[in-house]
Symmetry: C2
Subunit: 216 residues, 2 copies
Amino acid sequence: MSDRQQRGAQAAEIAERLRDEIVSGAIEGGARLGQDALAARFGVSRMPVREALRLLEAQGLVDVPPNRSAIVARLSKDDLLDIFDMRAAAEPLALGLALPHLTNARIDRAAEIQRDIENAPLDRFGDLNAAFHRTLHAPCGRPRLLAHIESLNALADRYLRLAIGTMDHQGPSDAEHRDLLEACRARDEARARAILTAHIVRARDALAAAFEDASS
Amino acid sequence: MSDRQQRGAQAAEIAERLRDEIVSGAIEGGARLGQDALAARFGVSRMPVREALRLLEAQGLVDVPPNRSAIVARLSKDDLLDIFDMRAAAEPLALGLALPHLTNARIDRAAEIQRDIENAPLDRFGDLNAAFHRTLHAPCGRPRLLAHIESLNALADRYLRLAIGTMDHQGPSDAEHRDLLEACRARDEARARAILTAHIVRARDALAAAFEDASS
DNA sequence: TCCATGTATTTTGGATACATTTTTCTGATA
DNA sequence: TATCAGAAAAATGTATCCAAAATACATGGA
């Protein structure tokens, strides 16, 4: 860990870098994550590596069976449905709670991120999309709920990256984002929640179809 | 760890015992969980203790600040709302997904647990209540969703134990459970979800009121 | 009396070392 | 050739050791 910040942050740093590699697909599902190999790679002992693996396990990105090497969680259609249905339950809740505290300035910030999404390269879509929704959800003031949503988004990103480019997801998504912003500006909670739910459900179905194609 | 099962299970065992003590209130919010003290108490080194604390942190039961002692998460009304609103989002989803796969035999098993609830002493309510709902949710076939709900139930139990006995929660809860079973027998998804949502929201409000009283 | 500063103690984070389990490799046998 | 047994190798789980950080405490000053 060349640029390690300070004592007590190594595990978090390792976890973050591994998470990026897993989410981006650089490490594929089913890959073995040996503690020794990771320790050597990051230049630390196995101890912080173990903590990092536990963190990733708690987020559902790796599986850590006792006495065996950690394995990157495999992708499956059932898992995809599991994740996206949880998002469809959690994110509208956060949005609805945030709406009364949502300032116009913040909505403008989200709109700016949406403009970035429409211009930036595809491989940045995951990050920017998460930032867009996070901007709208944050004022809900529910730390556990927000952490849960972040965790789900990391899981969802793996499926998104698989399918992105192979399908026309962008067009509908951009339109839905703009509708969502409009409903937020009008402070129309019911409509905003409905749009967000439909947004996630549509993404779920599109990705599920793309995943089936890719698996066959 | 006198009765430790086998290599690799110590951390999980310690976490489970600590979780029971935290949920039951034997250890109060804000209490310091020093690694050395816990290691001595369980007769192991600090290493499995550290893993156990990480597990509990992932479940939201303890806070582990860097370079400082872990402390049991404090209870607050905001946290209570956070937890119960997430339950109200997640559990009806699981129930709705489970309903098509729910057998009459399983509904009968849930009804039996409900009878136990009505007869058993109050301090068993948390466990039995969780078992009741788990029985109805399990057939949804969504491992992540079910794990999420279990985790939320552990957090919710802390608030339940605080208020139980000081309020008349049992009567309404029993009636709602019976209504829920009836809706399940009729395979009426919309009604079952509505009852469950109302059940959780009512518990949330009752506990929030009881918590405010206790805090004042 | 209260607050600030410096020191000593306590406690955590990480590295190293050892024991146990799992995995892999070898070789014999059907 | 395929399969199974056993041994060697590798990897994990735990204990112990050392260093860094935080807390507690004592001392001195306003």
